[in-house]
């Protein structure tokens, strides 16, 4: 063996290098993000894979140590950018847990509507990209209109589409307007048909099934050992869902099932995500009905009463001295955060997204750690792709829903 090859794990019994080294990434069109894999290929079969992390590491956890709480929301936007509202709201709920803020029911339900919309848009991207990687481009284009509609709903509420910065500590920055509800109704009316068509294109398609079944499989035990959560763990047969096991944001009021797979292969992951979209749709319908049940003054509530963290109304800021003082105090981050240590997790679109926040009583977090599910999945990438074909490894990467922004923080 030559000296420079000592780091390569050669297949047993080989006397010299008979494999090809392939740098898949960091900028490769098939990886949908900044991932590097140093693959060792025997023909088209993967002998070993070595993952590299950190190509888009932006030191969010360190940046957060110098930012007041409300500015950290913009950092969470950029974790899993396919479903940034879930990250935003997870962060707000973490702050609320530390500050011991109780949110009104209407805020919870509105948050659930937005979070489930985000889950649908994330699963929609993931599942249709699996289609694209296995050679079926059309389904992807058909469902994109409805992701667009979801983004338009965000836009009505917060003004932006991808990096949303939606919501504030205690609730939302503004109440949902009539157009937002109109678009939500349109979505609830038209989306089931589109998802049905998407299912028709993919679920029982032999070509698609042949490509996905049996690839990228991981057993429940190995998945648990790695620390898998979310759809990837559920595809292996473990019915773990943060929304059920540790209900936050009034998820206990809703009725939904947890779809689980058996083998943990790419086809199971696809089916689990597909079923979760139907469940999310039913949760949104339930939440929308509950929101409509609020009458009178309750129907106008969109934030909790937290004058220390929630900005006063603009018209008061322009005219009243007290409101102006609060406004300056909040924006300049001059409120001391109570001392404490909290962990809060939400069921993100691709797993348990956790926020570990330590405050030493200062104005910024002493330490903040994001538990990013993608970082966990990427560690298992070698195990699930070893022995498979290169083209299957590409599908495995998309079907695990690996997102570079979330992996590297």
């Amino acid at each position: 063996m030559q000296e420079h090859q000592h780091h390569i794990k050669l297949p047993e019994g080989s006397i010299e290098k008979q494999t090809t080294t392939l740098n898949l990434g960091p900028t490769h069109p098939a990886t949908h993000g900044v991932f590097q894999n140093i693959l060792e290929l025997d023909g088209e079969r993967i002998v070993s894979a070595e993952q590299t992390v950190g190509y888009i590491h932006r030191a969010f956890e360190k940046l957060a140590e110098r930012r007041p709480l409300y500015q950290i929301t913009t950092l969470t936007d950029r974790l899993n950018y396919c479903s940034s509202p879930i990250n935003n709201m997870g962060w707000h709920m973490t702050c609320e847990k530390l500050l011991k803020i109780e949110t009104p029911k209407r805020v919870d339900y509105l948050r659930i509507i937005i979070m489930e919309l985000a889950r649908i848009s994330d699963h929609l991207i993931c599942n249709s990209i699996v289609g694209v990687d296995s050679g079926a481009y059309t389904g992807f284009l058909y469902v994109m209109q409805y992701r667009e509609l979801i983004y338009e709903i965000y836009e009505e509420i917060c003004g932006s589409r991808l990096t949303t910065n939606i919501g504030r500590i205690g609730g939302f920055e503004r109440n949902f307007n009539a157009v937002a509800f109109e678009k939500l109704e349109k979505f609830l009316r038209e989306y089931p048909k589109v998802l049905k068509e998407f299912d028709n294109l993919f679920v029982r398609n032999r070509i698609f099934m042949d490509r996905l079944q049996g690839t990228g499989a991981i057993s429940a035990e190995r998945a648990l050992n790695y620390g898998f959560t979310g759809p990837n763990l559920r595809a292996s047969g473990v019915d773990y869902d943060v929304r059920v096991h540790n209900p936050y944001c009034s998820y206990g009021d809703f009725d939904f099932i947890i779809p689980v797979g058996k083998t943990g292969d790419n086809y199971d992951k696809f089916l689990v995500r597909d079923e979760e979209m139907w469940q999310s749709l039913s949760i949104i319908e339930q939440a929308y009905r509950k929101v409509q049940d609020f009458k009178g003054a309750d129907a106008e509530v969109f934030h909790a009463d937290v004058p220390e963290y929630y900005l006063p109304e603009k018209k008061d800021v322009y005219t009243k001295m007290e409101a102006l003082i609060w406004h300056f105090k909040i924006i300049m981050g001059e409120t001391d955060i109570p001392k404490g240590e909290v962990y809060f997790s939400v069921e993100g679109a691709n797993g348990e997204l956790g926020f570990y926040l330590i405050s030493d009583g200062g104005r910024t977090p002493y330490r903040l750690h994001f538990r990013r599910p993608c970082f966990v999945y990427y560690q298992a990438y070698e195990e699930v792709t070893k022995g498979s074909m290169l083209s299957d490894a590409i599908i495995t990467m998309s079907s695990m829903n690996l997102i570079a922004g979330e992996m590297d923080a």
């Binding site: 059309t138 028709n200 032999r206 099932i257 689980v260």
Partner: protein, 177 residues
């Protein structure tokens, strides 16, 4: 694995029937769906000839606002610069002199006001932070230029046209017409 909850439901994963096993059938089924889409309404719009309408709260490029008499509203308090998570805003304050009352609304104003549009993340926190209604995010987006320096917008790029001297340009900038 034992079940952790009572809500778990196994996904349907039955083997293919003989009809589904035929490749031709799958191709035919897929093509049928694709062909049906030819007769559907086109969902795309032809940007930039056509533009979609944005929500009234859309977060595009910044505009420095004037009051109805055409005076600059900004009082250079620096709240927007403090609130900016990307640290894109810088400003220098100056005191209003005698005879400048028609130019500036408050006794202090921003002599220099710069936003680095390459740093800006369009989060809208500056608009929220402004206590004088002096900065807001417009519906303009996709700026383009040849140099990096030209993306550091000064007051000449940011200020809204004077509503008294150029009422038409002002109305256009506010999106009133």
């Amino acid at each position: 694995m034992q079940a952790l909850t009572t809500r778990a439901k196994q996904v349907q994963r039955k083997p293919l029937s003989w009809v589904e096993r035929i490749y031709l059938w799958n191709i035919f089924k897929g093509m049928l769906i694709t062909f049906s889409h030819i007769f559907k309404k086109q969902p795309t719009i032809h940007y930039p000839e056509q533009k979609r309408t944005f929500s009234p709260v859309f977060r595009g490029l910044h505009v420095l606002n004037r009051d109805e008499e055409g005076r600059e509203r900004c009082t250079a308090c620096g709240l927007c610069a403090v609130a900016c998570p990307a640290e894109a805003i810088t400003m220098e304050a100056a005191e209003r002199m005698q005879g400048e009352e028609h130019l500036y609304r408050e006794e202090k104003y921003a002599a220099k006001y710069e936003i680095n549009m390459l740093r800006c993340i369009f989060c809208g926190l500056c608009e929220e932070a402004c206590p004088k209604d002096a900065i807001y995010l417009s519906e303009t987006f996709t700026p383009s230029d040849f140099t990096r320096e030209s993306f550091i917008y000064g007051k000449e790029n940011l200020l809204i046209p004077d509503p008294v001297k150029q009422p038409e340009a002002f109305a256009k900038a506010r999106g009133l017409n």
